[in-house]
């Protein structure tokens, strides 16, 4: 589904990704962990198409197409979704109207008819239940005045609405209390099937108790320095990141 080869990217003059290699198949959950500043969020942003970053080397193939050639909105219509670490507040635009536009843009992209008001409402009600989000909240300006937990639940709600092929959760767990974390994880797990894949970017192992990964990769200094299964996450939780850094620095 996603094939990243030797990906290098920089912001202004600073090189942040220095040769990422990663293969993701349908049905898989990959966790990307690593210390602060290792490039985790940069990887998420580059995949989503944020223009602040410049890809200097390497390739990314998504569902057989060159991802790096696509505009950010085209990537989303092709089935890529980024749950933002810091969801943006947008005054004057309600989540409901925003989602209606987004859903129909994606449907149009795939040659489907736009949803009428009734079908859209039905879809929305169904997905709202999944993340226990209130309709009143969705009628308000997007994320404006939302609590941290509400913003993250809104991200997963949007993911549920858009049903992406590949979802990238960028530190969706940060700042959540355990109840909110469970709601978010339940949403993600329910949406999981054999045809889609998930990348969970996180600093902490805690989320992985609820969203169980098939693979865990450790990112350090812009490279994946170690890959393993969920046990690797537990080891990181117990031992911290220093031993990874030492190992990586020794071989570098």
């Amino acid at each position: 589904m996603l094939s990243i080869k030797n990906l290098h990217a920089r912001i202004e003059e600073k090189e942040i990704l220095r040769g990422i290699n990663l293969e993701i198949k349908p049905g898989e959950v990959h966790a990307i962990m690593g210390p602060n500043g290792s490039g985790k969020s940069t990887l998420a942003s580059v995949l989503a198409g944020r223009e602040d970053y410049e890809v200097t080397e390497g390739s990314v193939e998504f569902l057989g197409k060159d991802l790096l050639e696509m505009e950010a909105d085209f990537r989303a219509r092709e089935g890529l979704f980024l749950a933002f670490q810091y969801p943006i507040e947008i005054p004057g635009v309600s989540t409901t109207n925003f989602m209606k536009t987004a859903v129909n843009q994606i449907r149009e992209h795939h040659g489907e008819k736009a949803l009428d008001a009734v079908s859209f409402l039905k879809l929305m009600k169904e997905k709202m239940k999944l993340v226990e989000i209130d309709q009143a909240l969705l009628s308000r300006s997007l994320n404006e005045g939302f609590s941290g937990g509400e913003k993250k639940r809104n991200e997963i709600f949007q993911m549920a609405m858009l049903e992406p092929k590949l979802a990238i959760l960028d530190e969706t767990d940060s700042g959540l209390d355990i109840d909110a974390l469970k709601v978010v994880a339940h949403g993600v797990n329910t949406l999981k099937n054999k045809d889609n894949a998930t990348i969970v970017v996180t600093h902490y192992q805690r989320l992985l108790d609820y969203i169980v990964p098939d693979f865990v990769h450790v990112l350090y200094n812009g490279r994946i320095v170690k890959s393993g299964t969920k046990e690797l996450a537990l080891e990181l939780e117990a031992r911290g990141y220093d031993w990874i850094k030492e190992e990586a620095d020794a071989t570098a």
């Binding site: 989503a48 198409g49 950010a72 969801p87 947008i90 925003f98 992209h109 858009l162």
Partner: protein
């Protein structure tokens, strides 16, 4: 003698004024004409605002008129078709309609208004008969000595309307004034004066809209002198969506009585150069004043909003919200004055001006100006100018919404703050459609 600004315009106007006087047919002894002559003399003596004029610092209208207009001949005859005329009107608006063609009242195209408590008359008739309304109000609120363009308008005041709303009269339908000009044969210029008196406890909505059809340039001025009596509720809309050749100066000078409520909406959507002077005197207690404006500019359009909320008495409230979206090499100017006089304790006065520059060639000059002499007041002002929020744009795009559409959504949301304050659905829809088309272009 020191050289005065706009001398070439003054020279043309001298000839025009003579012709104008001759055309008055025996009215030259009327009370109104004495005011006109005074205004003309004042204009001739002081000239137009020069490049150093504080009030016209960012909008050199004198230069624009000198450069673009001859002003040495009478307007050509009006020759537009009915379709062209109705094309300038607000579709779907149920209103009392008054139509002016090249600045002259058209009884054929105007509604014959038969509504209790509402009296709409042609100003020319009022002047001819020396009506009390025209005599008591002409030149009393818009002072020609304070602004050369008001003097110009005053000197040539002949056409316009007087609108009198009786005490307690509630006028359901808006009164809409359409000023339609034909510039297909030659340049066009005219000056309009309206007098509005809203009686005690009355309610009404007035819309003023200037349009030009034709390739030649137009220069029009309008002065509205408005009295909002005790406990009256008046809405006034200024809708500016004229051609790129249209130069327009609008003046709204109003005074409010106790417990009255006055809302002025200024939508500047297109034109060559527009100057809006909005001046409201809150001269009794318990008044509410709202000034809401939106300017959505592109190309070379230049729009200047100058507003004054003059708090003279205690316990009044004024709220001003102006927003601007500027594309192309358009230019926006905002100057908002709030005066709180020594007697105006417990004043609540708020002002906000927010601008988004879409293109790097567009500019805006914004200046809030608060002068407060009372000590127990609550006043605030804020102005922001920025580019569009790129993070917000990315967020929308990351959900599959194409760039252009995402941009339009964000700009519409920005403009909506002002649009949402319009209560009349037909007017709101009309404006929303123009704004939407423009933003989704």
């Amino acid at each position: 003698m020191e050289k005065i600004a706009g001398q070439s315009i003054l020279n043309s106007l001298e000839t025009q004024f003579e012709a104008f006087e001759k055309g008055l047919n025996g009215q030259s002894q009327s009370a109104a004409h004495a005011v006109r002559k005074e205004a003309f003399t004042s204009l001739m003596n002081s000239g137009f605002p020069g490049p150093k004029s504080e009030e016209y610092k960012f909008t050199n209208f004198t230069k624009a008129v000198e450069k673009n207009f001859e002003l040495n001949a009478a307007n050509a005859d009006f020759g537009l078709s009915n379709t062209q005329v109705s094309g300038t009107q607000i579709q779907g608006l149920d209103a009392h309609k008054i139509v002016f063609l090249n600045g002259v009242y058209s009884s054929d195209l105007s509604d014959n208004i038969q509504v209790e408590g509402l009296k709409v008359e042609s100003l020319a008739e009022g002047f001819k008969s020396n009506s009390a309304l025209s005599q008591e109000n002409f030149g009393t609120k818009a002072k020609f000595a304070e602004d050369a363009f008001v003097a110009l308008n005053t000197a040539f005041s002949q056409h316009g309307v007087t609108i009198e709303i009786a005490d307690k009269a509630v006028i359901e339908k808006p009164i809409v004034l359409y000023f339609i000009g034909d510039s297909s044969k030659a340049e066009l210029s005219y000056h309009i004066r309206n007098i509005v008196v809203a009686g005690k406890f009355s309610q009404a909505t007035i819309i003023e809209k200037f349009d030009t059809v034709g390739e030649h340039k137009s220069f029009t001025t309008s002065v509205n002198e408005i009295s909002v009596s005790e406990s009256a509720h008046l809405r006034f809309f200024k809708i500016e969506n004229d051609t790129e050749q249209a130069y327009h100066i609008s003046n709204i000078h109003a005074s409010q009585g106790a417990n009255s409520n006055f809302k002025v909406f200024t939508f500047s959507l297109n034109g060559a150069m527009i100057r809006n002077n909005l001046n409201v005197k809150l001269q009794a207690e318990g008044i509410e004043t709202y000034m809401n404006g939106l300017y959505l500019l592109d190309g070379k359009t230049h729009v200047d909003n100058h507003t004054v909320a003059d708090h003279m008495m205690p316990n009044c409230y004024s709220n001003e919200l102006y927003k601007g979206i500027m594309d192309g090499s358009s230019k926006g100017v905002f100057n908002g004055k709030i005066f709180v006089r020594p007697d105006a304790q417990k004043t609540n006065a708020f002002q906000s001006n927010k601008n988004i520059l879409i293109s790097d060639r567009a500019t805006v000059n914004t200046k809030p100006q608060l002068e407060i002499w009372a000590d127990d007041v609550s006043c605030s002002h804020g102005c922001t100018t920025g580019q569009l929020d790129m993070d917000a744009l990315f967020y929308l795009r990351a959900r599959g919404i194409p760039r252009d559409k995402a941009l339009a959504i964000l700009l519409k949301a920005f403009a909506n703050d002002v649009l949402e304050t319009v209560e009349n659905e037909a007017i709101k829809e009309y404006l929303a459609a123009i704004i939407e088309t423009r933003l989704e272009k």
